[in-house]
Amino acid sequence: MKLIFERSIPGHGQTLLPHCDVPEITLDAPGRETPLHLAELSENDLSRHFTELSKQVHGVNCGFYPLGSCTMKYSPKLDEDMAALPGFTDIHPLQPAHTAQGCLHVLHEAAQQLCVITGMDEMTMQPAAGAHGEFTGLLLIKSYHRSRGDDKRTKIIVPDSAHGTNPASASMAGFTIVNVPSRADGCVDLEKLKAAVGDDTAGLMLTNPNTVGLFDKNILEITKIIHDAGGLNYYDGANLNAVMGIVRPGDMGFDVVHVNLHKTFATPHGGGGPGSGPVGCKAFLADFLPGQVVRCADGVYTLSTPEKSIGCVRGFHGNFLVAVKALTYLMMLGREGVPEAARNAVLNANYLMHRIKGSYPPAVDGICMHEFVASMDKAKHEFGVSATDVAKAMLDYGIHPPTMYFPLIVHEALMFEPTETESKATLDETADILLEIMERAKSDPDSLHAAPLTAPIGRPDEVTAARQPVTRYVFEQ
């Protein structure tokens, strides 16, 4: 389809602004010399352009989206309405606190409820995404050791089953990464962990359930090994949807946690953001939190900067409207609904796994948490059909594929996360489709290599894209 620039016609446009009602000013400073192109379209053409683009996007509202590790649950529409209230959207971030009590109330209440769910004492809403939260949490750990004069703690332990952001965040925070091999089920190898810790251990980054979809039952021992060595435990909240309301990171021995509001707390992901990655910590780390923390006394909300704050990880108070959406969602779920959602997320994953496991062997047999990983290793060897082929075939059935080739410790991995908002009927239909795809893999593998056939495009040439990058449209001069 046409680019917006290819639809642009000189002279087309819209009447948006009134004539200037004050004297015009010409600046003496050196002005822009090169022409500004942007695009020139009537409102109708502009609206249609984006409508056409929207038809080439698969969102949760279009169909099933079992993208592992991303928790693509349904986002209640009320969230959108609440985040569009002018009483929130029109509030300037530097308004005096007494005129922004509603915004501070939202941030305070969201932080409080997330503290209850994670078992933490304080929470900053400033980080804008999960990876951003990881970076923030690691800086808290760094500041903590420094504040004690314990400068030799320079290493962060990361299991090799971890999300790629974990080692990248630790590196950004100035740590050296110690990769610890996991067991085949993604769980921590206690002996290898014991061998890896020492007086240079700053901390451990872990997600539990792990990336293979299992709850690590040795979790209390794991966090104790780190604590005994003088390190701190960081909880990557990417998989919190499995256990919210069931067990809390704070009770499992974690000192810092980030949560992904755009995963667990149902705020939509917007095709790549905005997200929000609040970071919670135990009281002994609270003085290091970034930005300003909201306090409440006698019903009045105020902002204060923590005493030994690491500074700012972003401007202002984070992605505020995302917090509005998450709080709206949390209010509807409440005390009973939070664990209910987790239980059903786990039920749905187990049910789907059970329905397809004959053709899609799980990396680990047994009960999984909110997601499971199937390996296409056997299909690849026997039929020449890869995880990619299966994923691309799913596109022709209107289903977003699972996460592919992650975690790295499982060959030809497909990671399914159905979430709790999908019905039994959807899961059954999907299971039938997946079984049909595997039948095709046996009888007509080439039909899978050719997939997708009904998507707006076929498989793209990614190699050329990377070798000869074309990252923008070039305007005719």
């Binding site: 804008a128 209390l220 500074g311």
Partner: protein, 438 residues
């Protein structure tokens, strides 16, 4: 209570039975009994109507000013209706990062269009798909410019305090030294900059216009920075890119900025949008997602996430940045905004912002509030106040005006945009006069 779980109890039982369990408890057998929660001390769940009422009540606890003359990093520009409609299309709103290109062409193409517009605005070669906000864009840019030989990051004291603080925090992580270059008359002190630059300097970050609204001598800054062998990171107020020499024309190595003025509401600080663009030589150092054009298996034009070898999911600890989620929907909003405004409409919004700010400055001057800096300003400026700034701002607040940002006991940073009318500026000046007695 609503959990958005569609199952009936019968369906749940059937599903549990299918997997060989008779209750939900069996799902959590691996969770140590000692830490299993028996109760979650949250309020009980609400119906949609109750939740709506509660949130609406919270929104009503805010005071929504009718007239806003405060900027300082968050700007009230006009947002055309079509922009809001486009940005609320469910397909865009509910998609994840476009990993599966075949069913994500709409998002990918919108990012390609965004990247094109950012390059068009800044005069740079290559843009990424966005970062969290203007402050993190500045901090990520500083990380891009450092190498083993040159590790010191220089930052102008005339840049936004939050950008400076964010750079400081990111550098606390990486261990890089940050040197603040003093401000003089609301701008970077060029002599001090010259003195502080040396063969350890990785880069210098400044903003056009400065935090105080003053127009910086970008050419002189660029010459000094490049003479010392360091890289130049130029932060820009997007509206200024319509009128002033662009980072590309100045010769900056990286152009960054806060994209909020491009169609996003002030929203108590977010979501916003950090834009980042670089000269071609730095393409592979840019953090975050980048969309590239290619062809599909039938030779049709297609778009994909590209140059992924830079990123965390491939390089893990060797990646230059950990960013994955960015602000895609905000980038789409900015694209729709820039297309709705068009080149002439966008320039007009910038011109009117400048004109209104200068009219405001004159009116305030007549009311006894004199600008404290010399030289040209864009749409923000700082005045001193003959009476405490708090008194003036309180009087304005009583009349539904959010005045400028107090910088000290007797200084205010004012801002105007195309949304402010001559009539409201006149009224604001009258209110100020009543306080100052001018």
């Amino acid at each position: 209570m609503g959990t958005f779980v569609p199952h009936t109890p019968e369906e749940q039982r059937a599903m549990l039975q299918a997997i060989g369990l008779d209750s939900f408890d069996g799902l959590y057998a691996d969770v140590p009994a000692g830490v299993r929660l028996t109760d979650l001390p949250l309020p009980s769940g609400m119906s949609e109507l109750e939740a709506r009422r509660t949130m609406e009540e919270m929104a009503a606890e805010n005071f929504r000013f009718r007239h806003i003359f405060r900027g300082a990093g968050a700007y009230c520009h006009y947002i055309p209706s079509v922009v809001k409609q486009i940005a609320s299309k469910e397909e865009f709103v509910t998609a994840y990062t476009p990993y599966q290109a075949e069913i994500s062409q709409g998002v990918l193409q919108s990012i390609f269009e965004y990247q094109t517009m950012i390059c068009d605005l800044t005069g740079m070669d290559v843009s990424n798909a966005s970062v969290y906000d203007g402050c993190t864009a500045a901090a990520e840019a500083a990380a891009m410019c450092r190498d083993r030989k040159r590790g010191v990051v220089l930052v102008s004291a005339a840049a936004h305090p939050y950008a400076r603080k964010t750079i400081g925090t990111y550098c606390f992580g990486s261990g890089a030294e940050v040197v603040t270059v003093p401000e003089k008359d609301g701008r970077t002190d060029l002599e001090a900059l010259k003195e502080l630059l040396n063969d350890q300097s990785a880069c210098f970050y400044f903003q056009q216009p400065s935090f105080f609204g003053c127009i910086e001598d970008a050419d002189a800054i660029c010459a000094l920075v490049h003479e010392a062998g360091a890289k130049l990171i130029m932060g820009s107020y997007p509206m200024a890119l319509a009128l002033l020499k662009t980072p590309g024309e100045v010769g900056a190595d990286v152009a960054v900025g806060e994209g909020q003025p491009l169609g996003l509401s002030v929203a108590f600080g977010g979501p916003y949008l950090g834009f980042m663009a670089a000269g071609g030589a730095l393409t592979r150092k840019l953090p975050g997602r980048i969309v590239g054009q290619t062809v599909d298996d039938q030779g049709r034009r297609a778009f994909v996430l590209t140059l992924q070898a830079r990123e965390q999911h491939i390089r893990r600890e060797k990646a230059g940045s950990n960013i994955c989620s960015n602000e895609a929907l905000c980038a789409l909003t900015a694209t729709a905004y820039l297309a709705a405004m068009g080149p002439e409409g966008f320039r007009e919004a910038a011109r009117q912002s400048v004109a209104k700010a200068h009219y405001l400055e004159k009116k305030l001057s007549d009311a006894g509030l004199k600008r404290i800096h010399s030289g040209e300003f864009f749409n923000e400026f700082v005045t001193s106040t003959p009476v405490p700034a708090a008194d003036i701002l309180a009087a304005l607040e009583d009349r539904d005006y959010l005045g400028g940002l107090p910088l000290g006991k007797n200084e205010i940073l004012w801002c105007a945009t195309e949304k402010n009318t001559a009539a409201e500026i006149d009224e604001l000046a009258e209110i100020v006069k009543e306080v100052t007695g001018a």
